[in-house]
Symmetry: C4
Subunit: 203 residues, 4 copies
Amino acid sequence: MTEISGPRTLEATRFEAFSDGVLAIAITLLILEIKAPEAESGQLWHELGRLWPSYAAYGVSFLTIGVMWVNHHNFSARLTAIDHGVVYLNLLLLGSISFLPFPTALLSEYLRTGGSNERAAAGIYALTMVAISVAFTLMWSYIARHHQLVKRDRIGDLRRQATSAGLAALVYVGTFAISFVSAIAALAIFAIIAIGFAFNKLT
Amino acid sequence: MTEISGPRTLEATRFEAFSDGVLAIAITLLILEIKAPEAESGQLWHELGRLWPSYAAYGVSFLTIGVMWVNHHNFSARLTAIDHGVVYLNLLLLGSISFLPFPTALLSEYLRTGGSNERAAAGIYALTMVAISVAFTLMWSYIARHHQLVKRDRIGDLRRQATSAGLAALVYVGTFAISFVSAIAALAIFAIIAIGFAFNKLT
Amino acid sequence: MTEISGPRTLEATRFEAFSDGVLAIAITLLILEIKAPEAESGQLWHELGRLWPSYAAYGVSFLTIGVMWVNHHNFSARLTAIDHGVVYLNLLLLGSISFLPFPTALLSEYLRTGGSNERAAAGIYALTMVAISVAFTLMWSYIARHHQLVKRDRIGDLRRQATSAGLAALVYVGTFAISFVSAIAALAIFAIIAIGFAFNKLT
Amino acid sequence: MTEISGPRTLEATRFEAFSDGVLAIAITLLILEIKAPEAESGQLWHELGRLWPSYAAYGVSFLTIGVMWVNHHNFSARLTAIDHGVVYLNLLLLGSISFLPFPTALLSEYLRTGGSNERAAAGIYALTMVAISVAFTLMWSYIARHHQLVKRDRIGDLRRQATSAGLAALVYVGTFAISFVSAIAALAIFAIIAIGFAFNKLT
């Protein structure tokens, strides 16, 4: 309790407010990637049905960013101070999460086309998820090595979190390989990983 | 008072900040669905008049999300702690509210075309409202069954709120049926329900 | 100090957070209305110069929403409690401010075309400003009549604020009339009023 | 400590919440400027590769706005009160930062075209950075001259910050000149300056 000193409150407030803002905007912008389809008279239900890749991509990306937000909360809840390294690693993280609407739009556009294009879209998505996981790994490792930023009794826990984020990065590298075989399989794995993270303990 | 312990404050702050962010963005993005119309020389007033379905859809969706925000406030004001279930049910809720700009765009695009397309647009809107109401029902039921998250004397009140949200879901199912007959009638019902909710007591 | 009771703090926090969110998003979305122009080889500077109506509309709307934010702050700084009426009048206000990117896009699109279209664009802008001013007038009048929401010694001040907002509404009605003569003159008046409000005392 | 009086807390909260909101939105909107490319069958990886100017512009602008956010934090952390001048200089600053997605879109669109158009895009970007730096210079100078807004022992530090922001403005004027020779060189300088600022001390 004494470790959460006055100055921390102010800095942490803005650190979290800015991060919450970016995550809330990234998650809400996803819907802009689903465009109202052109439909001839009497064809709108049919056209809306053909948009299922958009809904699937929306659902997976929404859940993924939602889980990121929970993970980010778990991260910042452990901090008792914020330094230069945390701020810039956090920018790296936010920059890669903010990028996600782009591969989401690609999946939404190309998942119905089949062929190698839909696999390329899934591949870009997987690479973005690798970048996000690497950023999380760097953040957890960083505060595990900078004891003054966290409560002393949590160091072991921080290393476990870093390892867990690093394993996620490896799984996403594997999903990148799978994306060359099947875009749908890759999308299913993104969904399964997000659901798996959703069963994680809340701190 | 003692139930609102230290940790709650921090978590609740981010829970509400993230939810407020998503709701504020969803409500403000609605205007992006009204595109500046192409108008030949001297025809802009006329073209702006033809956009009335866009203004109607904007007004109804703005009021609807505004009412959701008040409901969300009423929900979170009763919480003394936030757990895993609340966080993920809340994501389900935010995901369905964030989806609303899409059916709003569909109504805005197809309400002037008549025919079955405008009824399909109203139908998708109704289904989205069903999803939102179900998410609210699940949230209220969840905290009614998890007493440790709320003040003890409010359990009966929580059950009433869950019932009320469940009834709203049923009414929206009925509106989905009506949307197959008349898109305008469905839109009017969306407006009336939102206005009705606006007369609810603020907690 | 005693008037600012515990519950107020929480409610006011979310009331302001949601309002700040909506205003921040509306002001930042304005830039999306300036589209990167198509330019043939060597013509980009020329094309960028032709976009001056977009820059003018951006500048005026940015200043206008900025001034609204200051006014909103002045309003909520006087509240000691928030009730049903304040919440829904505030939604009316936010709904009309959030609408502003649309007439901004119209001005940006039609100001360079001349003719009656550019005057129609300025007219819609003026009507939106009338709606915003009316919403502000209603809000100030409402809390002037509901003494329990404010500190007692400020009633006279609230009536002055309501009158001032009402006068602004009248000036915007006048500007609507002027928009039928000259769009540029109307835009200049919008800018002058916003600058005038910017000289108002901060409370 | 006594200088941070009650009223400051409230005002500062909204001042920072609004600024954080605008900066978070501006940084997250950047991704909307990268459009999903049209690709013939089997050409998506190739088309995504051709988008490298978009990724470069996204990366530089994301880092730049991120650094601005840190600078803004450093600025507001020194304030013990907020007055009229701070509010409106801050609006000038936010207005110029919010403008950045537009030159980012120009760079993203024209950097692959070569010729004078890509140099014009870099030139507009440089002018926007000049405007941002001038706004920062004005803000630091303003509070250096208004002692009542800051802690007394920091005046010398404020003057150093104003000088540093002024020097950045001069460097951006120089980059504007360079943009007439090479757009890539200008973009590299924007990146280098942002990285340089990232090594600044966090306060």
